[in-house]
Symmetry: C2
DNA sequence: GCCCCGCATGTAACCGTTTCCATCCCGCGT
DNA sequence: ACGCGGGATGGAAACGGTTACATGCGGGGC
């Protein structure tokens, strides 16, 4: 039924060993032989059995990607970057999402074991130490946007603090003082760092921030709606709302308008991520650009490198720069105004900056 | 180094066959034995080698998903539905995108061969007959949004024509007559069907549509910008713009505003898909709802069923209903007004309707 | 008491590659 | 002429499971 390497061997008159060598380009083979084997393989439409191959080689040519969620453009951009880089390197991508609790992540990792050569985990809630501990130390692993402290594992993150700080400074420069912050989920590393940047910015500007201005959120759109409801009840009302991500900022703008307020005149609204759709909002969303797809692509390249070096490479720790993108929703003119990011600190040389669009 | 089933056998004092039976719940095993084996397996942290298993069983417990693209919320919703359904069934998901040309799809399929138990292909450009012909007939395959005519393969699509027709009728009912249509990519099945619905609607309303009103597009945001530029040059100017998807509609709204026109007063703008962000636009986007995630989930369930039946099941052919969602961008009040979809036609019983959000 | 049946378990043959090692052959140096 | 090195090839043992088949054993029906 299915044609195996043995069939190719039989028909071509050579042994399976030779056929294998031809097909993998390993070992010395005469040109005639190579050609003959190739012909037969093609005519038989031979396609090597992946399972058998990886049983033998212990390589799957597949990378796993664990995401906390799949809602919204943010994650689709991550996957896009991952997929692109993986395809370029001849790798496949196994995705799995909805992993917010450490236990779920462990479970997902367990089921991926043996299916993948390496795993990228984006989980702003995981305790990386626990994770690395229970994992086979030979499995290449790259952590995206995880909370600090691990040395034995590759880690990529975003300059959340710098980006948020730059945004607050920008709002202050525009004359806003009562700047509210719409938080991400508690315990989420990205969210915490962005909140930290906000606080730094407020303190730096000498503004005594009202604790009421720190609104609960979870990166989802509905949180934007809820936050606005709360915000409308406060007095004096904030004159700016800085959301920890674009999805919430967009929903907040919508809710503010529904409440009869003007953006940016009454309340400036800004976000974080610069998802592709942000520029098409009305008013166009001022935000902090993150090269999301680039992050995904970088993760893949890091993994592939780790695979090649049998996970004995020097660990990578990089922070991707962010960039303030000023549009209309903050009440200023258009254009890129300032870099939000402190420069990347890299484990291995080549600098990585977010690209300008 | 790695612990195999033989280790578990040795330590527990039973044979590999028994261990295998315990671990797979196949064959009869005494309770004591079962328990003992489980204990040992757990204490040894045994995790079966996936490659070995699938070499023997010829099952991978993985499904492949081929997408044309990964830009925007549409595809992230597809993946979300797929991932969710797959996880629920204990399957993994291999994604691969950027396959627009038939040749690329074939290539991607070839590299997936043996890695997956079935494949869902969303490719509105593929000629399904060619495809099915060159594929092993035993590989379960479900085509999403593909152009018609194949009998030997499962196919799911969306009631594009009905949805578009309903939208045009709605616009006409609101008094718009000069309705422009922003097309999707040429040769794309979804795009063609939506265009067909638009034409039907115009004809049905007795409007002689100006050919200039059919604007070129490609489902990407930049096409929305370009279309508006063209549209501004026409005279008399259309009083409505119906875009073949939300991404273009959103960009078009942005461009219209930049040109000083009011939406919906001067030009009504509507889209198709109802991506999650559509409701947060300003004005909120009137569109045709498609249960995108549901489509992905359904594809997965279809595949898993096909796998279970060794691909000898009755082929499924279903059209998912769509639903007109009226918001503000068309110049009407809020709310769901009418069903756009003709009822599903199903190969196998249970009806599938898009759910209300 | 014997036979037969069926449950619990073990043995070993697969699944389709890769790869180590042996073999063969050819040409070259002495 | 002969040994030697090395390139080309073949044989067979992994890799780690699943599973068909064999085996042993206890119990019930006669």
């Amino acid at each position: 039924m299915t044609v195996t390497i043995r069939d190719v061997a039989r028909v071509s008159g050579f042994s399976v060993a030779t056929v294998s060598r031809v097909l993998n380009g390993s070992g010395p083979v005469k040109d005639d032989t190579r050609q003959r084997v190739r012909e037969v393989a093609a005519s038989l439409r031979f396609s090597p059995n992946v399972a058998a191959r990886s049983l033998s080689t212990r390589r799957t040519h597949t990378l796993g990607v664990l995401l906390p969620d799949l809602h919204g453009e943010f994650f689709s951009e991550v996957i896009r970057g991952v997929d692109q880089a993986a395809q370029a390197e001849g790798y496949h991508v196994l995705v799995s999402s909805s992993h917010n609790a450490p236990a779920e992540i462990s479970a997902a990792l367990a089921t991926m074991h043996g299916r993948v050569d390496g795993v990228a985990i984006m989980s702003p809630v995981i305790d990386a130490r626990t994770l690395a501990a229970e994992l086979p130390p030979t499995l290449p692993l790259v952590l995206l946007n995880c909370a600090g402290g691990q040395d034995n594992v590759d880690a990529l993150d975003i300059d959340n603090r710098g980006g948020a700080l730059a945004m607050v400074r920008h709002l202050v420069a525009l004359g806003r003082r009562r700047i509210a912050f719409l938080c991400g989920p508690e315990g989420n590393a990205d969210a915490d760092a962005r909140l930290g940047g906000y606080r730094d910015g407020m303190r730096g500007a000498g503004i005594t921030a009202d604790p009421e201005w720190e609104l609960e959120g979870d990166f989802q759109q509905t949180a934007g709606l809820a936050a606005v409801r709360k915000l409308l009840a406060t007095s004096p009302r904030p004159d700016a709302l800085f959301a920890a991500n674009d999805a919430m900022a967009i929903a907040a703008m919508s809710a503010l308008r529904d409440a009869g307020l003007r953006v940016p005149e009454d309340v400036a609204v800004t976000g974080f991520d610069d998802i592709p759709i942000a520029r098409y909002m009305h008013p166009a969303l001022t935000t902090v650009r993150v090269d999301i797809a680039g992050l995904g692509a970088r993760a893949v390249r890091t993994l592939i490198d780790a695979v090649a070096r049998k996970n004995e490479h020097a660990r990578v720790r990089a922070t991707l720069a962010t960039e303030l993108v000023v549009r209309a929703s903050c009440g200023a003119g258009r254009g890129v105004v300032a870099e939000g990011g402190i420069n990347s600190t890299l484990g291995r040389g080549n600098a990585c900056r977010t690209s300008l669009a």
